[in-house]
């Protein structure tokens, strides 16, 4: 006789929810996130010093003749930060015009054909328009451009510190609250975001300084808006997605299913 019994009984997803582990979340936050945050704040000076030193070493090798200095500045009441001072390279008019034409062609490319109206095309068009304005600025009023390499370097470090501080708190809070039973993945994801963020922040700083030294300050606005915090969110969300995938798999496993509640 055919066995008509269901082999799998699916859990109803409609009203299921989890019980909050308040004590666990607070403990996690206090024992892991808070110490990391405090450690970061008290070592902000050392971290930015190390970052600046790396940048000076790399740029020093690439441009042996140029003067490079490590400067100090206050970062609000949180303490000191350090950044690299380097000479400002301004673009020639011809270089600005070439940039202008190329970017105009790129905008045309993004806005036509099958690419038109797609998310990446819209994003690129907005950013390229910023660069077009930038090129016009340098063609007609280069002397009035309000920034130099020194200010850009300073601004980058401030922005990066802001990103690091926020990411520590945000990822700490998210992992503290979500998936209380997948502790290993929580800790791993938290430190993955921090590790990636530090490496990415370091590498990007050196790359940006190299670009403004090699190709002039004309790319400052583009780098600031297009490849700034937006790209930090990409990996933050990417690692969060990875974390959630592990959490979901855990709560769907035989071990984790018992955690679900139905009011």
């Amino acid at each position: 006789m055919e066995n008509k019994e269901k082999k799998v009984i699916y859990y109803s997803r409609t009203y299921r929810h989890l019980k909050i582990n308040t004590a666990g979340s607070i403990l996690y936050f206090c024992l892991l996130v808070l110490p990391v945050l405090i450690l970061f704040i008290f070592n902000m000076n050392h971290i930015t010093h190390f970052m600046s030193k790396c940048a000076v070493n790399v740029l020093g090798k690439l441009y042996p003749g140029i003067p490079l200095y490590i400067r100090k500045d206050n970062f609000s009441i949180l303490g000191k930060m350090e950044f690299v001072e380097l000479p400002t390279v301004y673009p020639s008019t011809a270089f600005c015009v070439i940039n202008f034409i190329i970017v105009l062609l790129l905008v045309f490319f993004c806005c036509t054909g099958s690419r038109k109206g797609r998310p990446v095309s819209i994003y690129m068009t907005i950013m390229l328009v910023v660069h077009i304005i930038n090129c016009i600025y340098f063609i007609f009023a280069a002397n009035y451009f309000p920034y130099n390499a020194f200010q850009y370097s300073n601004l980058y470090i401030k922005q990066q510190i802001g990103i690091w501080l926020t990411f520590i708190v945000m990822m700490g809070l998210v992992t503290a609250i979500q998936g209380s039973k997948a502790l290993v993945w929580k800790i791993l994801s938290f430190f993955s975001v921090l590790a990636y963020s530090f490496l990415f922040g370091f590498a990007r700083y050196i790359l940006f300084l190299y670009i403004i030294q090699e190709f002039s300050i004309i790319y400052m606005a583009l780098m600031f808006f297009a490849f700034g915090p937006f790209f930090d969110f990409l990996y933050l969300v990417g690692i969060y997605g990875f974390f959630m995938d592990k959490v979901i798999k855990f709560y769907e496993s035989a071990k984790g299913k018992g955690a679900w509640r139905w009011s």
Partner: protein, 425 residues
């Protein structure tokens, strides 16, 4: 003076982003850990109301079989059920196909409209006049209701406070391409988390215009749908709330829809939604603030919900504002503490809060693997900002010019698939 205004606007945008970030976190937290407010599933034994299922259609020959066949399989007392497909000026085989259904099934009574005022609101108004049911249930033509859907939706009206009910929408063509997969993620966050949390918190679950129902007499007393408003669903929500009625959300009433499969179609859909939603914003913001029929919780959520399709426009202006400040050399707005604040807010607005909401929804639904797509939604932010801003400007132009809005149907893809399969076979 100009710089001061630009700076003040930047602060305004930051505050706005904080408010919406908090809202998303509250919803996600409530849905994941809060006590869930259950729907009325356990009172099936009571006498069910008579219902009329209205299905607006304009050139729907590709998909109408699916929705009608699904409805024919639905469990509902046939004496208390009628189905009214609204053939709205179709030029394809919709009329012939509906007439064939009518010949086979008496309770399928098509309404053929051949008049200049085409559109969903006008069609629904005409259909309501001939509908025999006390409750109107609406489905779009590309929807595929589950077997118990009609019972699930109709049962809510046993509660005398309920004016309208909304079910959960799930795309069925999820694996078609990247876009449909991303829409599925957004739908998951929007319904499993956002709508259910609003229902839990007794704020404003939104009637979505399809997979939902409302009391016919009530709607007729209020003058029917306004044909000048594109988002008749949002308008119904606010009309009911400002008159003291409740809209409730039935998370268990799951219905499958066809998600747009091309970016162009999705862009037009979003732009139309934004235009319609903002028309409602301009009409109802004052009423929501002043009505004595809504409590403070409903008012706060109601205002935030009304502004949902205006915020991306404000953010677009904010982005422009930041570009101008940059080129004016006024980036010191980001100096010191501003950096912290700006980055913090940008993180949460950079849609981390919506990501958190979507992640929570996927967790509750037990959807494995799809969370890896979350970073791609980041680029959608610009896509939505662009299309919603255009919709917002459309709505303003509607007010200024008092022009008549014309209904645009979302392109269907189902038949093309079938043909491909047939070809393959």
């Amino acid at each position: 003076m100009v710089i001061t205004i630009l700076r003040i606007y930047m602060v305004f945008v930051i505050i706005l982003m904080i408010i919406y970030a908090v809202r998303h976190f509250v919803f996600a937290y409530n849905r994941l850990f809060g006590k869930q407010r259950l729907y009325y599933n356990d009172i099936y034994s009571t006498r069910m109301p008579s219902i009329s299922v209205l299905i607006p259609m304009h050139n729907e020959e590709q998909v109408l079989d699916f929705v009608l066949q699904s409805l024919l399989k639905c469990e509902y007392d046939r004496d208390r059920l009628e189905i009214i497909p609204i053939n709205d000026n179709s030029t394809d085989r919709t009329k012939e196909m509906l007439d064939e259904y009518h010949e086979k099934y008496e309770f399928i009574r098509p309404l053929h409209r051949n008049c200049p005022d085409r559109g969903k609101p006008a069609g629904l108004n005409d259909a309501m006049k001939i509908a025999k049911g006390d409750i109107i249930i609406v489905f779009d033509a590309d929807y595929r209701p589950a077997r118990d859907m009609l019972k699930q939706l109709a049962v809510a009206f046993q509660d005398p406070e309920v004016g309208a009910v909304m079910g959960r929408v799930i795309p069925y063509n999820t694996n078609k391409n990247l876009l449909t997969r991303l829409i599925n993620l957004e739908r998951c966050g929007g319904y499993q988390v956002d709508q259910q949390a609003r229902y839990n918190l007794k704020s404003i679950p939104q009637y979505g215009g399809t997979v939902g129902g409302f009391r016919k007499d009530l709607m007729l007393e209020m003058g029917g749908f306004n044909p000048l408003v594109l988002a008749e669903d949002t308008e119904l929500t606010y009309r009911f709330y400002t008159k003291g009625w409740k809209v409730i959300y039935a998370n268990s009433a799951e219905c499958y829809e066809e998600a747009p499969e091309t970016w162009a179609v999705r862009g037009r859909q979003i732009r139309r939604w934004a235009r319609g939603h903002n028309q409602v914003l301009f009409r109802y913001l004052g009423k929501v603030i002043l009505t004595p029929n809504m409590n403070w919780r409903e008012k706060v959520d109601g205002i935030l919900l009304l502004l949902v399709y205006a915020v991306p426009f404000f953010l677009a202006l904010g982005q422009l504002d930041s570009f101008i400040l940059f080129f004016l050399g006024e980036m010191d707005i980001f100096a010191g503490w501003w950096v912290l604040l700006f980055i913090g807010v940008y993180c949460s607005f950079g849609n981390f809060a919506p990501f958190y909401e979507i992640g929570t929804g996927l967790m509750l639904d037990g959807v494995k693997g799809e969370t890896m797509l979350l970073p791609l939604i980041m680029f959608n932010f610009y896509f939505y900002m662009w299309n919603i801003s255009l919709g917002f400007l459309d709505a303003i132009a509607d007010i200024i010019t008092k022009r008549k809005v014309s209904w645009a149907k979302t392109k269907r893809f189902a038949k093309a698939d079938n043909k491909e399969k047939e070809g393959a076979n």
